[in-house]
Subunit: 157 residues, 2 copies
């Protein structure tokens, strides 16, 4: 089961290494991780999406996270209502039929950042599932040359 965990931490060197170490020491692969600033410049918020084949180990990790001195709070959003979003920057080779690309950009409310003779760079935001859909659709109309994703962030309703 996929878990979305929001961790508020002190903004200090080494925190990220300790937290990611907790997961990797137990063989958990982190699907995505986003670390950004918060309202308070001394704190950062990490949003971690991890697949938990074993719920008990995840519970252990959450307890250990809570014990780390630089961790202020740990919230598992999985069983709550939350909005989840991800940002993508995508470089696509322009398809022969340019209307097919324009149609997708419209459908997914994406933004064109640059358009050259041979390639277009677009920005898109949405849920993880919808963004996967967009990437598959883009592959269908042309070549995706580069894809950069932020990983998901989430906010409780």
């Amino acid at each position: 089961m996929k878990h979305t965990i929001s961790v508020l931490v002190e903004n200090k060197p080494g925190v990220l290494a300790r937290i990611s170490g907790l997961f990797s020491a137990r063989g958990f692969n982190i699907d995505s991780l986003a670390v950004g600033e918060t309202n308070d410049p001394t704190m950062s918020r990490m949003t971690i999406v991890a697949n938990a084949p074993d719920e008990r180990i995840l519970e252990q990790i959450k307890k250990q996270l809570n014990k780390l001195i630089d961790v202020i709070s740990v919230v598992d959003l999985t069983r709550r209502d939350f909005f989840e979003r991800e940002l993508l920057l995508i470089k696509v080779q322009n398809p022969v039929e340019s209307k097919s690309l324009s149609a997708l950009i419209g459908k997914y409310a994406a933004t064109v950042l640059s358009q050259e003779d041979t390639e277009t760079i677009i920005e898109a935001v949405g849920t993880y599932a919808r963004m996967n859909e967009l990437v598959e659709a883009l592959k269908g109309v042309g070549t995706v040359k580069e894809l950069v994703r932020t990983g998901r962030i989430a906010i409780g309703c």
Copy 2:
């Protein structure tokens, strides 16, 4: 000086811990880090923004990153042309004067995800600088109750 580094890695447990450990062992604080999927399910891309008080240590870190077995490529975008974007989810207490919030949402092309009697959740995308501007402006019209940022991602032009 702030550096934006894009690292393509094998999608394996422990990679993130090793990379963040390289930075923290040298006392570098990572400003933001976003790890997301790529076109290839076996690889992830990390976009790291770090402040480098000492350029030589950063050069060492980049060399050591390149030597890690799970690191496929390291690109320092700092001296290249690139688009840089960040996604924010923001929960604000509704101001008494609701027009002031609507005006900001319009100005920054933000999206309203939910609007309740007392609070509004919005989604916004832009450069780091512009998103800082938005957050400051939101503080000016009301209370920012929660702020979640992805950290920056970047794509070369």
